[in-house]
Structure formats: C-alpha cells, structure tokens
Amino acid sequence: MTTLAQGTSVGDPLVNLSIFLVFVAITLVVVFKASRRTRTASDYYAAGRAFTGPQNGVAISGDYLSAASFLGIAGAIAIFGYDGFLYSIGFLVAWLVALLLVAELLRNTGRFTMGDVLSFRMRQRPVRAAAATSTLAVSFFYLLAQMAGAGGLVALLLNVGSKTGQAFVIAGVGLLMVLYVLVGGMRGTTWVQIIKAVLLISGAIVMTIWVAWLFKANLSSLLGDAAADSGKGDAVLNAGLLYGKDAVGKIDFISLSLALVLGTAGLPHILMRFYTVPNAKEARRSVVWAIALIGLFYLLTLALGYGAAALVGPETIAAAPGASNAAAPLLAFELGGTLLLGFISAVAFATILAVVAGLVITASASFAHDVYANVIKEGKFAADDEVRVARITAVVIGALSIVGGIVANGQNIAFLVALAFAVAASANLPTILYSLFWKQFNTSGALWSIYGGLTTCVVLIVFSPAVSGKPTSMFASLDFDVFPLANPGLVSIPVSFLLGYLGTVLSRQNGSVAKYAEMEVRALTGIGSEKATVH
C-alpha cells in the first residue's frame, strides 16, 4: 500500500502483466480460430458479413470506447468535475446521426469502405483517391494518439520508467496488434473488440456498484464528498473548470462540441463496422446496441470519476504518472486492491490493442480496396491480390504507428483525437450526407468537400494554439498561432458543406441520373446489397 506515496507505480506490475497476458492468450486463440474462415476479400474486410446486430453493437462499443474515453473521461471528471461529463455527452448524442442518417443507407450501398459509398455515382478514380486520403488521415491521427497514450499507461501500470523500456512495450503492443489483423482479419479483430467491450463494461459496473455501496446509493452525498475533497468546492459540480475560461475558450468549446457530435458518423473505422452484418436491419440493431452500451458506460464513468475524486482525491491523481489518466486505475486500487487494479490495467491495455487493430484494418482496407484495386489497377487484378495488398499495408501501417508512438511518447498530442473528429466531421460527413440525399451532388462537389474540409482542418490546427504559442503547445518555443481556436470544427464544418455545394453548382456537370436512381433505390430498399457469405 505504500507504493501510492512513492508516486511511481501502484499495485503489483507482475499481477497487472499476468492478467493482461491471460487476455492476450485468450484473444490469440480466438483470432487463430477466426483465421480458418478467412479466405475471400469479404471475409478479410467484412468478416463474411456474418455477425449479428447485437454482436456488432458490442464490437462497435469496444471500438469506440478508446483509452481516451475510458481513462480520459473518468480522469477529467475526477479532476475537473462536470466538464468531463459534458464531454461524454457529445460522444453519445453523436450516435443519433449514425442511426438516423448513415448506418443503414451506407450498409445497403457499399461493400467494404467509405469510398464505396462516396464514389458510387461519381467518377471512380478521383473520388476513391480522395476518400482514401481522408480515411488514412483520420485513422493516422487517431492511431498516433492511441499509441502515444500507451507510453504513459505503461509507465503507470508496469512501472517501466525509462523511455527505452517504454519504447519496447509500445513496439510489443504494436506487433501484437498487427498479428491480430494479419491472422484474424475483420473477424478476429471483431472478436477482440467484443471480448474487450465485455471486460471493460463489466469492470466499470463492478466498480460503480462498489462506489454506490460505499455511498449507500446516494448520488448527492457522492457529489458532496467529491466537491469537499476537490479543494475547489461546488465548482466541480458545474461547467467551466476545464473548458471556456474566457470568451475565446467558450467559442473553442462550442467548436469542439460540434466536431464531437458530427464526427462520429464520419469516422471510417466506425463506418466499416456496418459492413460486417448481413443487412440494413442488422446495421440498425448494431447502432441500437451500441447506443445502449455506450450510454450506459458514460453514466458509469460519472460514478467512477466522482468516485475517484471522493475516494482517491484529485491531488493524488494529478501527482500519479499518467496524471488524470490514472484516475480509474487508482480508484480500482483503492476499492479492490492489487487484483482489481490488475484487471482494470489489463482492460486498459486491451482497449488500446482493440482500437488500434480496428484502425489498422480500416486504413489497410481503404488503401488496398480504394487505392490499389480501383485507382491503380482500375478493377483489373487477380482475386487474391487485393487481400495480399491489404495485409502488406497493415504491416506498413503497423510499423509506422509503432515508430510514431515511440516518437510521440510523452508529447502533448491530445489535440490529435480532436483533430481526427474534426476531419471526420468536416471532410467525411458532409460528403456522405450529400451523396446519400442530394440528387445534384457530383464529382467536383465531392472532391471540393473532402479535400476542402481536410485542408481547412489541418491548416487551422497548424496555425492554432495547440501547435505553437502557448506553454502547453506542441512547439511551445515557437509562435505562429494566428488562428485562436484549438478546435477547427466551427469553421471547417460549414466551410466543407459550402464547398461541396459550390463545387457541385459551379462545375455544371450533370451527375448520372441513372446512377443516382440506382443508389437511392438500393439505399432505401436494400435491393442487390451484399449478402453474407456462407461457409
């Protein structure tokens, strides 16, 4: 118990590691079993479309509840109170966009990637190239944030202090994840996400019940204790400690909220999950399950976050390695000692592994299916070629993410997740919505909204306080932050919608009437949609 005071590590690194290795062993067996049924492109990218809606819904929640939302939101609530909760609401409400506007229509019109849907009635090569560019950009930003976070987690949970030691662990995590993707394809990756989601949500339920028992199921007294222990009093029960301290900060927070709520339905690794079910109705059931589980989980984080504040205390959390990310693990240690901490630590590792595997398979599918098969080979290639290219790409992306994770370890790159959401909301979502619902939308419009949204986001971020000009910036010593907001969504999302409109109207090309008819009828009725493969 004295380890807490030393501020280096808590619990027993050996216990943490052993429980994690058990998880690895179980998932490896599952992945190898899944590999025996992975032969065709449809198996590799879409798990043969054989998962049920509920299974896919659990996998989606496993894919979506990244380390940032598990450790990050619990930590933000523990230290800043209400603002952490505020953040989680955007992540949940966002699913209504996917449910009402995107999931079913996308399932009916596409095969493997976002590019399938965007290029359906457009000129194939340019639009697929654009869709792949934006998919790779979003996935890479997201990937880098996950891998860099792994370093801090290692320091906390395995007591690996040196950068070299952490680099080895990051490389190990990366290699394992590539192995999952190579061997198991989408089927293996999905099972890893399902197992992880079940562990994560069970762990959160156990801890919440424990906290509820300690506070006699009285939310008010939990909040009271959290406020008393915070040193900030009732301020932790209201908005404003983390976001929006001044006028610019307030607008910045609104910008972030907009990107969160509109970004989810444009995240390529989430969109790709809708292809793993046999039809649109199962896609709908997937989203319903995902909303139920993600909603439940964010309600639990409220108890975990305030519980950590009340039982561990914000000062202890802030002083621990990994800072606010340590809130959930420290609460686990406080409640259930070494064993519960070991379990939660293993879940945290499993989270990184599952999310990164999902990102890698999405990025490699987009490169192999959109760029290699359709842009380079124009659809003329041997049957096995596409999957072979996808596997090679997975190795390359895995290697890049290991290097990126090692280089970015300890850097302040929290803005990368916000950037990934902003790009998804600006470059992808407007293009998807126009493609599905606007008859006149054409190739120029699609290219303008994808490239325009992507460029606006990246340029605004480069010239924002997230990159330079402030002590917390990536390059604190430099100063070129001419754009005041750290979150570009408020500007880039309307810009992308506008560009998609202008590109369409100004180009005066007429989109194919016949292709629009085919796309709309397919989207709404499911006629001719890809069926599940039977083995």
């Binding site: 609401i89 209504l96 506007l101 008010s220 009271g224 908005a239 909220s257 909303i291 009437v513």
Partner: protein
C-alpha cells in the same frame, strides 16, 4: 433516358439501369422516401438543436446550470442526464417507426423486384 423494357434476369439479380429509374419513379418508392425523410430530417434538426441548447447553456448560463435542485444535484446534472434520456427515447422511437412504417414497404418493393417473376 431509355424507356425500353429491359429483359429481367431471374429472381435475386438486381435490375438493370432503366429499371432503377422505373422503381425510383414508382408511387410506392416515392412513399418510402417520403416516410424516411419526414422522420429523420425533422428529428435530426430537433436533437441537434436540443444538444446545442445544452452546450450553449453550459457555456453561457453557468449560474443557472449550477443551481442546486436538491442535495448536491444541480440543474446542469439533470439537464445532462436528460440528454441521455432523449437519446434513448429517439433511438426507441426510430426503431419502432422503422419496423412499422419503413421495413414493410421496403420489403414489399424488394420482393416485387427481386422475386416478382415467380
């Protein structure tokens, strides 16, 4: 636009180019599109407005959001929890609507096209 009747290939195969436009012009399909859009568009506007109202209140009306209703439960906490409630309710309402009003019509059109010849 070609109005030539394309020979239908047997059940299960998707129809050829001209047929897609025929289906799209049919009264049944127009009704399906109307039903889908008349639910999802207003609902999207509604939940985005409700969410943005919450975000704006949390940003600009903190005094009100910090008001304690009972014990340590604030207006802001209740407002936030209501966002969960509304998300669950809209999900439930859409699934009900889709099962009763969208799926039967879509299935009817699909069966007519894919298996109509039998």
């Amino acid at each position: 636009m070609s109005t030539l009747e394309q020979p239908r290939t047997g059940g299960g195969d998707p129809p050829s180019g001209a047929d897609w436009e025929d289906i799209q012009r049919s009264a049944e399909f127009a009704e399906l599109r109307r039903r889908l859009r008349s639910f999802v568009f207003p609902m999207t506007v509604a939940f985005l407005a409700w969410y943005m109202l919450y975000v704006l209140m949390a940003t600009y009306a903190r005094g009100f959001m910090g008001t304690k209703l009972f014990g340590n439960i604030t207006v802001g906490l209740v407002f936030g929890l209501l966002q969960f409630v509304s998300t669950f309710l809209i999900t439930w309402a859409y699934v009900r609507y889709a099962n009763n009003r969208l799926d039967p019509l879509a299935t009817q059109i699909r069966h007519r096209i894919e298996g109509g010849e039998r």
